[in-house]
Symmetry: C2
Subunit: 123 residues, 2 copies
Amino acid sequence: MKALLIISHGSRKETSNQEVRDLSLKVASQLGESFDVVEAAFLELADPLIPEGIRRCADLGAKEVLIVPYFLAAGRHVIEDIPGIVDAERPLYSDVRISIAPHLGSSDAMAAFVADSALSFKA
Amino acid sequence: MKALLIISHGSRKETSNQEVRDLSLKVASQLGESFDVVEAAFLELADPLIPEGIRRCADLGAKEVLIVPYFLAAGRHVIEDIPGIVDAERPLYSDVRISIAPHLGSSDAMAAFVADSALSFKA
């Protein structure tokens, strides 16, 4: 049983947090059968926080959790904060394989994605 | 003469800021002839800041500047801060049409992008 956990920063604007939760539903519909569950969690300012997000995946029966940091740049949050929080949770889930994918902004396809976004803008 | 200005948050980690500058070069190579110049600017913590980024585009001869907020979620920075800074600059450039595209995370293609990112991860 495999879970995808999308982690974003979290915002004081609840509409912004909801945007990420809605995204995770859309991602789930794109994944086919590769992942059994898709959850969203937040680094701060919104619920669920990362530990609770991991807990949800494990409670649903996940034996593998792939964490995708929904961040564009490799700042402190990506380099230190998220790995630190995840490492602190690992001992609680000895039977779950928890991996962290590279942050979204590091994707080779990002430049084309930004270019497409610019080209599709109609003023 | 048309410029694309990619705006990201800016980080205390200079490697993170450089990641965005490198991205803007890659985006330029993807755009073909639709834009004559691509610049990167930052909301805070890194140079150039947004006013200087707009200035660079104008100095290069841009009559149109399309700003792409390189942000995933519509938090305060996207909703208030960037439009506020841009609006404050507009009176200085009466002959330049400055537009702000929707933030990157609002793209309809984002869910598929995140899904592809997850599916391509090899643990």
